[in-house]
C-alpha cells in the first residue's frame, strides 16, 4: 500500500484518471482491493463498528441509572470500568458508537450531496465556477471549529444541530475534491457528444458527469465521515454534544467536567480508542480504495 497519490490539498487538486469502463473497472478495483491486507483489516473494523452500533441494545443496557461503585477500574463486571456517577463505561462506549456513527453518516451524506451538486454545477456551468471556487476557498481558509462552536451554542445542543453544523462546514472540502475531477470530465469528448444529443444539462450531468466522478465521491464519503467523527467529538468534548444521548465525545466531556480525567485513565482510554479505530479504519479504507482503483499502483 502506498500513499504516493496523496497531493497537498490545494484548491486545484490533481485530477484523478477517469475510468471509462465503469462496470469492469469496479470489478477490477475489488479484485485489487482484496489483495490489500490493511484495506481488508480496515474494512473489517469498520463493519464491526457498524455491527456494534446496530446491536447496541443486545450488547449492553443503556447506561442511565447511577450506581454506587464510582470510578471503578476495569473488572469482570464492568469491562471498561465505571464513571464518576457509577455508570458502566462499556455500555456508554457501545451506545456512543451508535450516536457517533449516526452523526458521521448523516453529516457526511448531507455534505457529500450538497458538495457534489455545487461542484458539478460549477464544472458544467463555467460562469458560476469562479464564484463557487472563491466561496469554497474562503470557507476553507476559516477556522471552522470556533464557528461550529458559536452556532451549536446559539442553536442549543441536539443531535440534529451537531449533524447540520458539521455538514454545513464539511461540504467545501467535498466540492474542492469533486470539482477538479468534474472539470476534467466536462472537457472530455464524450460530454461534447452528449451536448449534441440533448439540450438538457441535468441529463448530461446525471448520466455522464456524476458517474465519472463517483470514485472520487466514494473516497470523499469516507474522508468526510472520519472528519465528521472528529468534529462531532470535538464539539461534544466542549459540552456541545446532545446531553440526552451517549457519544464518545460526551464521555470525555463528563470525565473532564468531573475532574476524573487524569486519575481514572480508563475514562479517556476506551472512548479514545473507539474514535481512533473508526477514524483510522476510514483513512486506511480510503487509501486502499484509491490504490486499488488506480491501475498504476495496483499490485500484480
Amino acid at each position: 500500500m502506498s500513499i504516493d497519490k496523496k497531493t497537498p490539498p490545494a484548491i486545484d487538486a490533481v485530477a484523478e484518471p477517469v475510468s471509462a469502463e465503469y462496470g469492469r473497472a469496479s470489478a477490477a478495483t475489488w479484485r485489487a482491493f482484496r489483495k490489500e491486507p490493511l484495506g481488508i483489516i480496515a474494512l473489517v473494523i469498520m463493519l464491526a463498528l457498524i455491527l456494534v452500533a446496530l446491536a447496541a441494545p443486545l450488547l449492553a443496557p443503556y447506561p442511565a441509572s447511577y450506581g454506587t461503585a464510582v470510578l471503578q477500574p476495569p473488572s469482570a463486571t464492568n469491562w471498561f470500568g465505571t464513571d464518576s456517577l457509577g455508570r458502566d463505561l462499556f455500555g456508554e462506549v457501545i451506545w456512543g458508537t451508535q450516536q457517533s456513527l449516526l452523526v458521521a453518516a448523516a453529516a457526511s451524506l448531507i455534505a457529500i450531496a450538497f458538495g457534489t451538486i455545487v461542484a458539478v454545477i460549477g464544472a458544467y456551468f463555467r460562469r458560476l465556477d469562479g464564484m463557487i471556487s472563491v466561496i469554497v476557498d474562503l470557507m476553507l481558509s476559516l477556522p471552522v471549529l470556533p464557528l461550529m462552536i458559536l452556532i451549536a451554542a446559539l442553536v442549543g445542543p441536539s443531535t440534529a444541530t451537531i449533524i447540520l453544523v458539521v455538514a454545513a462546514f464539511s461540504w467545501p472540502e467535498v466540492t474542492r475534491i469533486v470539482r477538479s475531477q468534474a472539470l476534467t470530465v466536462v472537457g472530455l469528448p464524450y460530454v461534447d457528444a452528449a451536448r449534441l444529443m440533448t439540450t438538457s444539462p441535468t441529463w448530461i450531468i446525471r448520466k455522464h458527469v456524476v458517474p465519472a466522478v463517483t470514485p472520487v465521491i466514494v473516497v470523499s464519503v469516507v474522508v468526510t465521515a472520519s472528519r465528521a467523527v472528529l468534529s462531532a467529538a470535538g464539539l461534544a468534548f466542549l459540552g456541545l454534544g446532545d446531553p440526552t444521548t451517549w457519544s464518545w465525545g460526551r464521555i470525555l466531556y463528563e470525565a473532564q467536567q468531573s475532574g476524573a480525567m487524569s486519575s481514572a485513565w480508563w475514562l479517556t482510554l476506551f472512548p479514545s480508542l473507539a474514535i481512533f479505530a473508526l477514524v483510522l479504519s476510514a483513512t486506511l479504507l480510503s487509501i486502499a480504495y484509491n490504490d486499488a482503483r488506480n491501475p498504476k499502483s495496483r499490485r500484480r
Binding site: I3, S141, L142, P143, V144, L145, A153, V155, L230, A233
Partner: protein, 320 residues
C-alpha cells in the same frame, strides 16, 4: 506582475476573507432561530443597560442597517461586552491571544522542523523500512483526536512521571528567568499534542512532493553531472519540494486553530481556546463571536505572511 501588485492582491484577498468571516457571523447570528439580542446583550442585564446596548447595535433597525452598524462597530474594535466578566470582549481576548499565538506558533515550528526531515527520509528510502514507518506515522497521526492525545501525554508525562506541569501556562510567584523557564515547561505537553495531530499531513505531503521532485529532469541531470546523491536530495530536490509545504501551512492553519481550542481546554492553557470553552459553559455569546472573528483574523494574517514568503521563495508566483 510586480512585487507591489502581488502584495496588494494578497492584501485584498485577506481583507475579502475577513469580510466574509464577519458577514457569515452576522448572518448566522441574525438568521438562526433564537434571540439575536443574545449575541450582544445578556438576559441578566438590567433593562436599561440592555436597551442601551441593543440600540447601540441597532437591533430594532432593518437587517441591512443592522449589518452596516455591525461592520462599523467591528471596524472600531467593538466586539460587544462579555456577559460574565462585564468588560469589553476585545479586552478579554487580547489578554489571551499571546498564549494562543505562543502555543500554535511553537507547535507549527516543531511540526515543520520534525515533519520535513521525516518526509525527506521517507522519500529518499522509498519502499524501504524507514519509508513504511514514516508512512504509518503519517496516517496514524492524521487519525488522532486532540483531547485523547493531550490527556495521554498529561497522564503519562505529567502525572505518572511528573516531568512536566499538568496545566496552566506558568507558575505563579516566579519572576525573571525562572518565570520564562516555567512558561517553557508548561508549553511542552500542549505544543507536543498539537504537533502530533499536524505532523501526519506535513510528512505525507513532503514525502510525495519530494518523490515527484526526484523524478524531474533537473534532478536526473544533477545526478548525471555526478553530484553526490545527498547533495541532489537536500539542495536541489528539497528546495522545490518545500514550496507545497509552505502552501500546506496556510491550508492547515484553520485546523491548527481548531486543535488549539481543544488542546487548551485539556491543559487549562489560558489562551483563546480555553476562553471559548469557558464561554460555552456560561453561554457567553459575545465572547464566542469575538473569539471566532479574532481567530479568523489571525489565520488570515498568518496566511498572508506565508503567501509573501512563498512569493519570495518562488519567483514564478510573481510573474504568473
Amino acid at each position: 506582475m510586480s512585487l507591489a501588485s502581488f502584495v496588494l492582491r494578497r492584501l485584498g484577498r485577506g481583507v475579502l476573507t475577513i469580510w466574509f468571516a464577519v458577514t457569515v457571523t452576522f448572518l448566522l447570528l441574525r438568521l438562526l432561530p433564537g434571540d439575536p439580542a443574545l449575541a450582544v446583550a445578556s438576559p441578566n442585564m438590567t433593562e436599561d443597560a440592555r436597551v442601551a446596548l441593543l440600540e447601540q447595535y441597532g437591533l430594532n433597525e432593518p437587517l441591512i442597517v443592522q449589518y452596516g452598524l455591525y461592520l462599523w462597530q467591528l471596524v472600531q474594535g467593538n466586539l460587544g461586552v462579555s456577559f460574565t466578566q462585564s468588560i469589553p470582549v476585545l479586552d478579554v481576548l487580547i489578554q489571551r491571544l499571546p498564549w494562543t499565538l505562543l502555543l500554535t506558533g511553537t507547535a507549527l515550528v516543531a511540526t515543520v522542523v520534525i515533519g520535513v526531515p521525516l518526509g525527506v527520509i521517507a522519500a529518499a528510502r522509498r519502499g524501504k523500512l524507514a519509508d513504511r514507518v514514516v508512512q504509518i506515522i503519517g496516517v496514524t497521526g492524521q487519525s488522532l483526536f486532540v483531547p485523547s492525545i493531550g490527556v495521554f501525554l498529561l497522564f503519562t508525562f505529567g502525572l505518572v512521571l511528573g516531568w512536566f506541569p499538568i496545566g496552566g501556562a506558568y507558575t505563579t510567584g516566579t519572576y525573571g528567568a525562572e518565570w520564562y523557564l516555567s512558561v517553557l515547561s508548561h508549553l511542552v505537553l500542549p505544543a507536543t499534542s498539537l504537533m502530533l495531530i499536524q505532523l501526519g499531513s506535513y510528512v505525507l505531503t513532503m514525502r510525495s512532493t519530494l518523490i515527484d521532485a526526484l523524478g524531474e529532469d533537473y534532478t536526473v541531470l544533477a545526478h548525471a553531472n555526478g553530484l553526490p546523491a545527498r547533495r541532489v536530495l537536500w539542495k536541489h530536490a528539497l528546495r522545490n519540494a518545500l514550496l507545497p509545504t509552505t502552501t500546506l501551512i496556510g491550508l492547515q492553519l484553520g485546523f491548527l486553530v481548531g486543535g488549539a481550542v481543544l488542546t487548551e481546554t485539556v491543559f487549562a492553557y489560558p489562551g483563546i481556546g480555553r476562553g471559548i470553552y469557558e464561554a460555552v459553559t456560561q453561554l457567553d455569546f459575545p465572547v464566542l463571536q469575538g473569539a471566532f472573528l479574532m481567530l479568523a483574523a489571525t489565520v488570515v494574517v498568518v496566511n498572508m505572511i506565508t503567501d509573501f514568503i512563498y512569493g519570495i521563495l518562488d519567483p514564478r508566483v510573481k510573474t504568473a
